[in-house]
Amino acid sequence: MDLIYALAVGALFAIGIFQVLRRSAIRSVIGFVLLANAVNLFLLSVGAYDGLQAAYTTSEQIRADALPQALILTAIVISMGGTAFTLALLNIIAARYRTADLDEMEGLKH
């Protein structure tokens, strides 16, 4: 299980970083979403080793740690809002330059 987590986090991270560094703004926002998921999966793997049982049950077996789940819930909400806001900003910028190529958005180089 650990190995699957490690591979998944690693792959998501690598793809995410690669996409974030792309010239196309839309691809880089997609990379950003992937990174968010890599981080969330990492947080989950931090607490999920001990049990496949839900956090709050009366079961006698080892239960999953509830804290990382709460953290992820908060992080998902924040990154959802962040992504929506990034896309909104991007929408305005892309409309101004008529392109999503980050190299052609040079208004700030003055």
Partner: protein, 500 residues
């Protein structure tokens, strides 16, 4: 302990948060909203001053466990002298920022969401400084980032949206690093409470598996947040494009979040590991001082110049934190406090000059020679320039004197020589701007508009700067006491876990 004092800790957070919610409801009646916001912020400043005096008076940090869940299970809010001092600094500058916004002619202050966002910016910043929980720090930092970004995105400057995009992108990435650090700490020590983490890291025989990655992620986060040299590239654009009242906040108190984080890291969380990463802070600080100074000297815009200057001034604070002695930490605290006041005042003055210019811009080609019509702003800018470069009778002198003194006591002569020489750059760029605006002859057709922003806020700030330069004892005493508390992490830990 009575019921009252620990709840006092909530006031600087609760007041602006409730105020923001009510200000949203008042969005249809703008005059009411404006004065409601100002009243909220002033009340909150009074509460945070009260907090500072209470903490200093009782001689030990205040801790409050949210919801009655005791640490390490609940979220604790802790105000030691460092946090209380920084909260006072934040709220003082935010109040004056609001005063400036009330007298501003920017279109942005007329948006119904401007004032509520300003208040949530204050909540985010205060929260990061009062919280005693690493994940809670992330939540407050996000609140701060989102408020700051929206405030910039709706700026009058047409590049505001792009600057906001650039900043938001960087700081969301930084937030991911903060989350990675949170995860690393949790897997290594099973707790996120800062006091508990400090206790467990000290007690552990061998460092936890992910301790070092956690430290590095946390360092990277704070470096992006406070625009330390190689992580700074978003900062000048962002601080230039933001509306004046907002950029005065961003460039003065918002960058102090990283400074606060570094102090907490070196004096509480990672005391044993600190000697290994302190040199990094010194080296990056020096690089920032030199690069920021040179870049400020080469800019064509007063606001941009001041943004680069922030890079250099944060460098000085980092060098103080990197030295790490009690004297140096006290000097860094005084430096941070004074820099907030000075930089806010200077940016407001730059914004004031721009508001009187024919085209609303702080570029030198627009504002050259504007000063003839604005003598009062000239005097204030000159005093602020003296303070920025550390010349008496201003508070900038006190902070530089303390910092250099701590370097001499610590026998760091090579570093002192470099930063001493580099601080001459400050004098050069500030006086270059002063000369361009107030000495050179005005250009053809460049006439000052009859009215602009109100000069009240920078006037109060510069008055404070001069008063703190002549009567520096209270601030320096508080900073020294705070540094002595920081030298003993047990004081903080004891406050969160009374009775161990």
């Amino acid at each position: 302990m009575s019921l009252f004092p620990t709840h006092l800790l909530l006031l600087p957070l609760i007041i602006p948060l409730t105020g923001a919610a009510i200000a949203l409801l008042l969005r249809k009646v703008r005059p009411v909203q404006e004065y409601w916001t100002l009243g909220t912020m002033v009340t909150s400043l009074l509460a945070s001053l009260w907090l500072l005096f209470t903490v200093q008076g009782q001689g030990e940090p205040l801790a409050f466990q949210l919801g009655g869940w005791n640490a390490p299970f609940g979220i604790s809010l802790v105000a030691d002298l460092l946090a209380a001092l920084f909260v006072v600094m934040v709220q003082l500058v935010m109040v004056l920022g609001l005063v400036y916004a009330l007298g501003s002619r920017d279109k942005v202050v007329q948006y119904p969401f401007f004032y509520p966002l300003f208040l949530t910016l204050a909540v985010g910043l205060t929260g990061t400084m009062l919280t005693g929980d690493l994940f809670n720090l992330f939540v407050f930092a996000e609140l701060l980032v989102i408020s700051g970004t929206v405030l910039t995105a709706m700026a009058d400057d047409r590049f505001g949206v792009e600057a906001a995009f650039k900043y938001f992108y960087m700081s969301l990435l930084a937030s991911f690093f903060l989350l990675l650090s949170v995860g690393s700490m949790y897997v290594s020590y099973g707790t996120l409470n800062m006091a508990d983490l400090a206790r467990q890291i000290t007690a552990a025989d061998s460092p936890g598996l992910l301790l070092w990655p956690g430290i590095v992620f946390l360092l990277a986060t704070f470096m992006v947040k406070s625009a330390v040299f190689p992580f700074h590239f978003w900062q000048p654009d962002f601080h230039t494009a933001a509306p004046t009242a907002v950029s005065a906040m961003l460039s003065s108190v918002v960058v102090k979040l990283g400074v606060y984080g570094f102090i907490r890291m070196t004096t509480l969380l990672f005391v044993a590991q600190a000697p290994i990463f302190r040199p990094v802070l010194i080296v990056l600080g020096i690089a920032g001082i030199i690069y920021g100074g040179l870049a400020a000297l080469g800019t064509h815009n007063v606001k941009r110049m001041l943004a680069y200057s922030t890079l250099a001034q944060v460098g000085f604070i980092l060098v103080g934190i990197g030295w790490g002695s009690t004297l140096a930490i006290a000097a860094a605290l005084v430096f941070a406090f004074n820099h907030s006041l000075i930089k806010a005042a200077m940016l407001m003055l730059a914004g004031y000059v721009a508001s009187r210019a024919a085209i609303k811009s702080a570029a030198f080609q627009v504002v050259t020679g504007m000063g003839k019509a604005l003598p009062a702003a000239g005097i204030l800018f000159f005093l602020g320039g003296l303070a920025l470069s550390g010349i008496p009778p201003t508070s900038g002198f006190v902070s530089k004197a303390l910092l250099f003194n701590s370097g001499i006591v610590g026998e760091e002569f090579m570093v002192l020589l470099v930063i001493g020489l580099a601080s001459i750059l400050t004098l050069l760029y500030v006086m270059r701007a002063f000369q361009r605006i107030w000495w050179l002859a005005p250009q053809e057709g460049a006439k000052a508009k009859p009215a602009g922003d109100r000069l009240l806020a920078p006037l109060i700030l510069i008055a404070l700067v001069v008063v703190l330069g002549i009567w520096a004892a209270p601030l320096v005493d508080v900073a020294q006491e705070a540094a002595q508390w920081l030298a003993q992490p047990d004081i903080y830990i004891q406050a969160v876990f009374p009775g161990g």
